[in-house]
Symmetry: none
Subunit: 225 residues, 2 copies
DNA sequence: GCCACCGTAGTACCGCGGTACTACACCCCT
DNA sequence: AGGGGTGTAGTACCGCGGTACTACGGTGGC
């Protein structure tokens, strides 16, 4: 028995899917999620085999919801459905960890067999997208990037809005110092360091100090030993 | 009308394929090639829409035959068929320019729809292979470092004791991925990722993943953007 | 046939990192 | 004089990261 969660913001669409799936005697619809965050929460509770995920949803979109569901680490597979066969969505969804990608104008049998494939651990890609996926894959294989451009030390725009103090903090972050170490060696309170760090992350668009370390290297604020 | 050339060294196999295809009123078998060089020559003469290509053939094998057929620059698409679902063959064939890859134990309908898809410009991949293909594809995306290059990666002594898998994990750590992301995109449990990370830190003498990121840069496992 | 290693996976626990919010002194600018 | 940016600092909270341990199937070496 394959258990399915339907994530779509359109009630009519959900109804259609539910009718189709319930007509199969090897499938059960565990529930319907009208939004991305609902999908994430319900997946954590119900552990469906497959989540039928629409991409366009209010709040958390299907891509991010997929990422979080996959990150839950359970066996739940995500099958992404969308109205259009836009590549960016497909690739973003697959990068997010989805097990498949189908367009909504697929035949009912195609959807059903797609769900069964995904549930059994296989992956499915809409026929019209497989070629582009392969092309992209093949192009990735022999990629040679010699880029030997020597750029003189000019201020990277990503660091433009940082204050001197923040740039100083970022430098020692890039050298791997913990907040406690920065606090001790720069003679300020750790809470102060945290304030600086948070502002640096916000200004540079980094989600955590790891990204900041990478940024420090990429901008040559710090250099490899 | 879809025209097909059958390239297979086994007469019985060719017969089976011919019977199946001729039973369809939208398909015609233009000819049968018992070897790779025959397939190349006959394709140049007959210009079929699709070549059904066996991989294992005497003389020129299916991979090389595919490469030469694609190099002819015509509309002919190559659909590779093999008995086994060996990855090397699949990837080699796709790299050679094939439009699809199916295993011989596929259902007749799957083969027929595969031929039609390929003839119409789409690509097909055997269901059981799609997942591996996606995995390989997704794993390629973040790693802009083609260590498949001619220069063998000079082994930094600090990385000497790492296994291949650990070096792989360290690479994506160096690119800033969280454990959850590594888990999702490499399709292993987060607990597995944690085990790997802990071993990497222990082996490299890093106290946390920040130090590992720095090490990855210093050893040129990853390079600044 | 056995053993070591590897990759996988799980659980339990704790601490650092990051957020959100507030606060205040200082400096510079208008 | 007022206001905005900066550097400092605090509290409370939560989640990710890391550790310690166990476990098991596969593989390769001896």
């Amino acid at each position: 028995m394959t258990t399915v969660l339907i994530a779509d913001d359109q009630p009519l669409q959900r109804f259609g899917f539910r009718m189709l799936l319930e007509s199969q005697d090897d499938m059960t619809v565990l529930g319907e999620a009208p939004g991305g965050s609902d999908a994430v929460r319900m997946t954590a509770e119900l552990h469906p085999d497959v989540v039928l995920m629409d991409i366009r949803m209010p709040g958390l979109d299907g891509i991010e919801a997929t990422r979080r569901i996959v990150a839950q680490g359970h066996r739940t597979r995500v099958l992404i459905l969308t109205t259009f066969d836009l590549d960016e969505y497909a690739y973003a969804g697959l990068r997010a960890g989805a097990s498949g990608f189908l367009v909504k104008d697929a035949l009912p049998e195609e959807l059903l067999s797609g769900i069964r494939s995904v549930a059994s651990g296989d992956a499915v890609v809409a026929p019209g997208l497989t070629r582009r996926l392969l092309d992209a894959y093949v192009q990735l294989l022999p990629s040679e990037t010699p880029h030997t451009s020597h750029t003189p030390p000019e201020p990277d725009p990503r660091l433009a809005t940082l204050t001197d103090r923040e740039r100083e903090i970022l430098t020692v972050i890039g050298q791997g110092w913990t907040n406690a170490e920065i606090s001790a060696r720069l003679h300020v309170a750790e809470s102060t360091v945290k304030t600086h760090v948070t502002r640096i992350l916000a200004k540079t668009g980094s989600r955590d100090r790891i990204q900041a370390v990478i940024l420090a290297y990429d901008t040559k604020l710090v250099r490899p030993a």
